[in-house]
Symmetry: C2
């Protein structure tokens, strides 16, 4: 097994030194380089292709988020471990979206830091308990929200044909479009639509579209 090569990116030399010393104590980890801002980080990644990048989120010049995006967009990208001061930072979700594999609290113990590097290196995600909870919360909220539940029960009231029509409406199609697609007259399409208005308790096709989105019938 070869060494895990790590690139440190932080505009504070002290932080870099600290991390460097901590990582040096792990036999399987090697510091492959350092950078003090985002632009430099991208260049160093290109030059040294490390396994893991430890990236401060707040930096001058290109910020950590942009740098994370840039780095993870490269071919055969390294894993990015984001360095934050506070857990539950608002940046956390943005960082995940930017391609980060995990977070490192600046006050983390040496063991935690080393463990985090190993975790992301092997392809796992390293989240704090709080972040995980928040992520689950997001997910659950999106799926369990009461409006969605109500929407789902109503959905059962629709016939097959009506569901087809609703789906088409929710894609922004005109009645004429839908009629052509389903081989109906426009008049019939309208009947179907009006019936769904009553069943779903809405008054126009925009509200029908909103319903379709809330129920998960169609998705963004």
């Amino acid at each position: 097994m070869t060494q895990l090569r790590v690139l440190l990116v932080d505009d504070d030399p002290l932080v870099r030194t600290g991390l460097s010393m901590i990582l040096a104590s792990a036999a399987d980890i090697e510091v492959a380089g350092e950078a003090s801002d985002g632009d430099e980080a991208v260049a160093r990644v290109r030059a040294t292709s490390p396994d893991v990048v430890i990236m401060d989120i707040r930096m001058r010049r290109m910020d950590g988020l942009a740098a994370t995006r840039a780095v993870t967009a490269m071919a055969d990208p390294p894993k990015v471990l984001v360095l934050t001061t506070y857990d539950l930072d608002e940046y956390v979700f943005d960082a995940l979206a930017a391609g980060a594999s995990g977070f490192l609290l600046k006050e983390g113990s040496p063991q935690e830091i080393i463990a985090a590097v190993r975790t992301v290196a092997k392809g796992d995600v390293m989240l704090s308990p709080g972040t995980t909870r928040k992520l689950v919360g997001h997910f659950v909220a999106a799926r369990a929200n009461p409006r969605r539940q109500r929407a789902l029960t109503k959905l059962g009231a629709l016939s097959e044909r009506e569901r087809e029509v609703v789906t088409a409406v929710a894609q922004g199609k005109s009645n004429a479009d839908i009629a052509g697609e389903l081989f109906l007259s426009e008049a019939t399409v309208k009947t179907h639509i009006t019936r769904t208005f009553a069943k779903l308790d809405v008054t126009n096709r925009v509200q029908l579209t909103i319903f379709a989105y809330e129920s998960g019938m169609v998705t963004p």
Copy 2:
């Protein structure tokens, strides 16, 4: 610190015995009871109010998901640790939505099982690396999808007024409604809307609504 009281729910007595023996080896954990199906589980929770319920997901009678929902809906609910055979089971997300705090693989080591109980007992979420990755993947997919990105750039082209109008449209309001709300004539509202059609590259208000949802301007 008092003992962590655990209720075991599995229709296989052997599994219950195994778990019971493993948990007995932890000084801070005590098995408060056992149940062999969902209905019984709900009754035992009510009777013994445990801190943690270890719940098999596949059971006769009331299944584990329904039981999880029932249990977490109670007042001062216990944490539910779901017992699954395979990681990345499809049930995983349903279980989270049902209120589970974590998952336990049936092949987990005794230490892992004990650690999981302690983790959920203190309010943290216990996910396997694979599940966490999947969850993050979901989240990232929802936020980083290219359509959303395109939508966001177009959003910048709208004036303040236009954004107000679009938001109102995407809530299913009629032009007359919007005119009243913003103190405009209906004609003016129409002008604004038509202008946004051009800017956002859509042809009717349903598509405008779809845009608003995709861009995150309004959410379900």
